[in-house]
Symmetry: C2
Subunit: 143 residues, 2 copies
DNA sequence: AGGCTTTCTTGACCGATTCAAGAAACGGTG
DNA sequence: CACCGTTTCTTGAATCGGTCAAGAAAGCCT
């Protein structure tokens, strides 16, 4: 009834998507490897299923993103990354060099910087916060 | 001595870049048309100078971004945009449909959401905030 | 099991941007 | 003020991440 702690198959059914091997493998892989790129997901899924087309991976990621099962993050200058933590709007910490991405929970209480001063007639529905910096590895590599 | 209110030529000299027609035209155009894409900059520059290679535009934008004369914004799913307001870290309001971008001054006092809760060993040097929504035109078009 | 619809495979294609080589232009110097 | 070395611009090809399109295969409702 609820999709809290529901397996990937139930999650898919809950949003009206068919249950297929590429989709299950993608959701499983992303649960274990958050913030993976499409290419990394493809690698992981193929390791489990054998041959799967690149297009299928993109289709799966797209379908799951649109239905809210996945969240897509697109850090400037890096390929898009995906994560299963899609419902809460937490933020991200991104390495400028390698693109490594980590979760950051909301900083200033529940709703962070939402509500800008002047909105120019825009209808705003999301405030995205990205912290930019250098991960430990890349920081060490440039010294 | 200071580059406050200095013309584009002085700004270029101040950061050690040669003064060339494509650079002056680019900075002028962006002063008048903030948040323009590379293509829009190319159009504007060509309107003033005649033929200028696309690569030259990218080189100019790159050089000026690296030296701090320009700031590059890269909204997910849209081509990069550039602006001359590079020094203060204000934020942006982006239309999901057309990519139109507007400035938003800092919301919660001077330093907004900087300093995340857990930083995973990262060295953080910037907090980027993007407000996503629909501009008046695109909002009207989908009704 | 049948049949409609969704999803996957294959392969071409795309936009935005970058790389690489040589020609042209800037600007400090004699 | 002409020279020369370095920076910048031109030309043309290439790259990356991702999308489009058509048909084959598979899911799932009855």
């Amino acid at each position: 009834m609820n999709d809290h702690r529901a397996g990937p198959a139930d999650q898919l059914r809950a949003v009206g998507l068919r249950v297929t091997a590429p989709r299950l493998a993608t959701l499983d892989w992303l649960d274990a490897h958050p913030h993976a790129t499409a290419e990394q997901v493809a690698d992981g899924v193929r390791r489990r299923l054998g041959s799967v087309s690149t297009q299928a991976i993109y289709d799966v990621l797209h379908a799951c993103t649109q239905t809210g099962l996945l969240r897509r993050i697109e850090p400037a200058g890096h390929p898009a990354r995906y994560e299963t933590r899609a419902m809460d709007n937490h933020h991200h910490l991104v390495c400028r060099v390698c693109g490594r991405t980590e979760d950051v929970d909301c900083v200033v209480g529940p709703a962070p910087c939402l509500e800008p001063s002047a909105s120019e007639g825009f209808v705003i529905d999301e405030a995205e916060v990205v912290f930019w910096g250098y991960c430990p590895q890349c920081k060490a590599a440039r010294a």
